[in-house]
Symmetry: C2
Subunit: 253 residues, 2 copies
Amino acid sequence: MISKNDLKYYSALLIKKYRQQENKFIVEGIKIVEEGLNSNFNCEAVFVTPAFIESSTDILNAIRKKTNNILEVKSADFQRISDTKSPQGIAAVFEKHSPKRKVTETKEKYLILIDNVSDPGNLGTIIRTCDWFGFYNILLTNNSVEYLNPKVVRASMGSIFHINIYDGISETDLLNLKKLGYFVVCSDVKGKNINSFSSEKKLIVSFSNEASGPSDLIKNLTDEKITIPGKGRAESLNVSSAAAIILSKFANE
Amino acid sequence: MISKNDLKYYSALLIKKYRQQENKFIVEGIKIVEEGLNSNFNCEAVFVTPAFIESSTDILNAIRKKTNNILEVKSADFQRISDTKSPQGIAAVFEKHSPKRKVTETKEKYLILIDNVSDPGNLGTIIRTCDWFGFYNILLTNNSVEYLNPKVVRASMGSIFHINIYDGISETDLLNLKKLGYFVVCSDVKGKNINSFSSEKKLIVSFSNEASGPSDLIKNLTDEKITIPGKGRAESLNVSSAAAIILSKFANE
């Protein structure tokens, strides 16, 4: 059974400040906990409710092969480490994991840059889409929602465990990447038609909030704007929908 | 100033049962209220807080040209007709509006069918994407979230006001459409590569929950499954991301 102090310590990880201080984060739900345990992230503890223990013997046996630190948490206490209304009764804490290589050491044809995206569902969905298409390097500027936010992790369906995520990307990082031959293309409402766009260069593909658009930082570094032509009356596409269309295009180049 | 009874009556529209009983729905936020007022939906009333009145004279003047029934609602009371945490202080009630033509009278090349999608954000985002690409006819089976749910309306960014939405679509409706020459293509994890799929036929393009897949009803009526090829480790794409990719493809046929 989990101690009072541990419960307090781990529930604090629902708050960004403590995640950053401790370099740990908490995830929830069977699928996402399993994705984490099967990844190269270090798992500190798994939490399960008595009801989960009773109903999910097979899952628990599989988890025991990955970690010994499985703590029982009463249902009422579990609510404190959960940010969902109807928790599945399983959660886990992982250590934050930085990519092995520096961002400037990457040789990938495509880097995906997320700038000025504040909705956690959108960021998580974009990470999941990157994972689907095999774009394994995501760069985040500081003006987007933190990718270890529980809502981001949930919307990613565990894809955060598969992707090299470089957060805190600065202007200097981007200028260095440009020196290394990267060309910045920015998805925007006015730009070159994505269907006729192609490039031999290495690309940083940037996505921003659809309403307020890219930040000044990205605007100043953009080499080419690309857009998805529309025929209807919607003012814009949701940013994660736009990302899906553009990434699908680049995945098939 | 709004009466106590009116406040009670309109706040009930946050609940599906009362929306269905009254054939009305409530929307919130400047952009969405404006989209509604500029559409052919009948607006019953607009609600504004004192703070909104003070800060948004231009918007209010524009609204006055569309409707006379603007009711002031105290901030504390406004919370009762709002389902957001930080409301903008403007909401409106519209009458539900059914498409003029029967679904079997449509001659469109593409009908978009939504089946078994329970997440309101996903449904709203798909409606917005349809609007962007000019797919103006959406069919909903009864096992999806109701499209007048406030979260759906919000995620649609007002696009529900631009689209013919046929809800309560039954097996009989779909069989009749098939008799009229429609071919049912269903987005699924295993199917024909969307990049090499094309058809001369009129199409019903169906999207379902990515985890549980299409309902038995749709499975039995499907003529062809289509899929978006992935290279990464994500098990599936979010349904609204998949819809964006597939609709973008058909929009460019």
